[in-house]
């Protein structure tokens, strides 16, 4: 039995290994035959057991085993199995030789029987040793292969992720670039709009002024015309009196003419200064700092603002007063800019009292006071109204650009923010606001004597 089971096991192991190898390495043409070879070992075993003819069958085993070894050895693709084949070769050779010797040289075989047996044993030990080492190597290689496969898989995943990420980054970059361009465009537009708004705010306050200015110019012009007409009449009378020789009347009329002449000049100058003020106001930032009489500036803009309001709103009425400190020193400012701030604050004050009056409070006397005063090394200009005041919740917002409580189209919301900019940044000063709800608001411009 010993001899019968061993060839079977070895043949089965070899054919099984070859079959597996072919299958794993896609040696398709050998898969089927080697599968049959596997079955064939089983078939041989069955035949051997049934016929109990191990003496005959063992030759089949030899041929089969050697055939398989030779076949595998010839296949280039099966090179990796060399060591495996080498493990079987000694056994196959020894088994064949020993059986051949037993038949052909029986005496020799009997005499050397021990040697044959030892050789058989050695070949089996060899086989087992090689298979064992092969198995270990295979295990190690398999481990290595699995590890490499895992690494490959990880690397592949990383590569795929990388490609995906690169795509994403590219996409995001394009998006960001688009956004950046859009933002730049928007910024550019905003800047242009801002400039336009600042310009239109300037023009709007100028527009509010024009009616006031027209009124302010009309009055002195009327005086100029009237006194000039009177003088012309008086000169005729003067001639008459000269002819009569009434020296006293002549002197009297001459005095009147002179007095009128002074009135003409005075009102002419008044008109001139209004026009100048208007030109200053409309002129841009080119204005330079010059010694300016703040009281005169307040007077001018208070009147302009008042008449502007009167011209715009026929029902508007308010009393206004200028309380000046008489010996207020002149200071170096850009007059048209400070004028703009004054106009703004005074316009707001008139607007506030007008709104309160419209709400129909009985006995309400709208009143705006502009007050100038020197305090230490500073000049304070206070514009006080007795309107409805600024609600506490809005107090922090009034200097923000575009903040307005007026309805659309009525205010740009830039007046106070531009004013603050002019005073704080342009003149190193400050604007403060005090307001009591229902009682009124006071804006104080603080300008240092030395700017």
């Amino acid at each position: 039995m010993n001899f019968t089971i061993l060839p079977f096991l070895l043949s089965l192991a070899l054919s099984q290994r070859l079959y597996k190898f072919s299958k794993n390495n896609q040696l398709n043409q050998w898969v089927k035959p080697l599968n049959y070879a596997r079955y064939f070992t089983g078939f041989l075993l069955v035949v051997e057991i049934i016929l109990s003819a191990s003496n005959t069958i063992r030759w089949f085993w030899h041929l089969f085993l050697i055939g398989l070894l030779l076949f595998a050895n010839q296949q280039k693709e099966m090179r990796p199995l060399r060591m495996f084949l080498l493990a079987f070769a000694p056994y196959a050779a020894v088994a064949l030789l020993s059986d051949l010797a037993e038949i052909i040289l029986n005496d020799f075989y009997v005499q050397w029987n021990n040697y044959f047996k030892n050789a058989g044993l050695l070949s089996i030990i060899w086989l087992l040793a090689i298979l064992f080492s092969q198995h270990r190597q295979y295990k190690a290689a398999e481990k290595e292969r699995i590890k490499r496969q895992q690494e490959d898989e990880i690397n592949r995943a990383i590569a795929a992720r990388k490609v995906e990420l690169e795509g994403l980054v590219e996409e995001r970059t394009a998006e960001l670039k688009n956004q950046k361009e859009e933002l730049e465009h928007a910024l550019h537009e905003l800047k242009a709009t801002q400039n336009q708004l600042i310009q239109s705010e300037k023009m709007a306050s100028l527009g509010e002024l024009t009616a006031g200015i027209a009124h302010e110019i009309q009055n002195p012009l009327n005086f100029v015309n009237n006194f000039s007409e009177i003088n012309s009449e008086l000169i005729d009378e003067l001639k008459e009196e000269l002819e009569k020789g009434d020296k006293e009347s002549v002197a009297e009329i001459a005095n009147d003419i002179k007095g009128n002449e002074q009135k003409i000049m005075q009102h002419g100058k008044r008109a001139e200064s209004i026009v100048k003020g208007m030109l200053l106001h409309s002129r841009g930032k080119s204005g330079e700092k010059e010694l300016t009489d703040i009281n005169a500036l307040c007077d001018e803009y208070l009147r302009l603002s008042y008449h502007g309001f009167r011209a715009k709103d026929k029902s508007f009425n308010a009393s206004f007063e200028l309380e000046t400190e008489e010996n207020l020193p002149k200071i170096k400012v850009v007059p048209q800019e400070i004028g703009r701030v004054l106009l703004n604050l005074i316009n707001n004050a008139f607007y506030a009292v007008n709104e309160k009056q419209k709400s129909g409070i009985s006995d309400y006397k709208p009143r705006v006071v502009v007050h100038t005063e020197q305090k230490n090394n500073k000049i304070e200009i206070k514009v006080q109204d007795n309107g409805n005041g600024i609600p506490r919740s809005l107090k922090d917002k009034i200097f923000q650009p575009f903040f307005t409580t007026k309805s659309t189209g009525q205010g740009t919301g830039l007046g106070l923010s531009i004013s603050y900019d002019i005073i704080a940044n342009g003149h190193n000063g400050d604007i403060r606001v005090e307001s009591k709800e229902k009682q009124g608001t006071g804006f104080t411009i603080i300008l240092p004597l030395e700017i």
């Binding site: 009124h215 009309q218 009055n219 012009l221 009327n222 005086f223 015309n225 009237n226 006194f227 009177i230 008086l234 009147d256 007095g259 009128n260 009135k263 009102h267 008042y306 008449h307 009167r310 011209a311 026929k314 009425n317 308010a318 009393s319 206004f320």
Partner: protein, 125 residues
């Protein structure tokens, strides 16, 4: 005839005094001047029977000409004096408001003194 002239322009006084110098010399017209609505009301209390004609600028700081007109026409005086309104803004709204409040006439600046004199003569009879 006593005429109260109300205007916030102070030079209205020398102007009227010279424009009407003949009438003043002849004693036909006697002028008083007030520079605000409040002042005009005060003047009218002091010179009630003398105030016959008021030339009032509608646009004045404080009490407006229209307010003054209203007070004169509806509250203070019997018989109420003639009130002639003079304004730089000769718009319809002002005109209608003045007429509604009982103004006797409505002139726009610059004043045409010839026609003003004629109107005053027409009142004065």
């Amino acid at each position: 005839m006593n005429i109260l002239v109300v205007d916030d322009e102070k030079d209205i006084q020398p102007l009227f005094m010279q424009r009407f110098r003949r009438e003043i010399k002849n004693g036909e017209i006697n002028f008083k001047f007030a520079y605000s609505g409040e002042e005009a009301l005060g003047a009218m209390q002091n010179y009630l029977h003398e105030a016959v004609l008021i030339l009032s600028d509608i646009n004045m700081p404080g009490m407006s000409g229209l307010e003054l007109l209203e007070r004169i026409k509806q509250k203070n005086h019997t018989p109420p004096p003639h009130v002639m309104m003079i304004t730089a803004y000769g718009d319809k709204e002002n005109f209608e408001k003045a007429m509604e409040l009982g103004a006797d006439d409505f002139l726009t600046k610059p004043v045409d003194f010839k026609s003003l004199k004629e109107k005053i003569k027409a009142f004065g009879i």
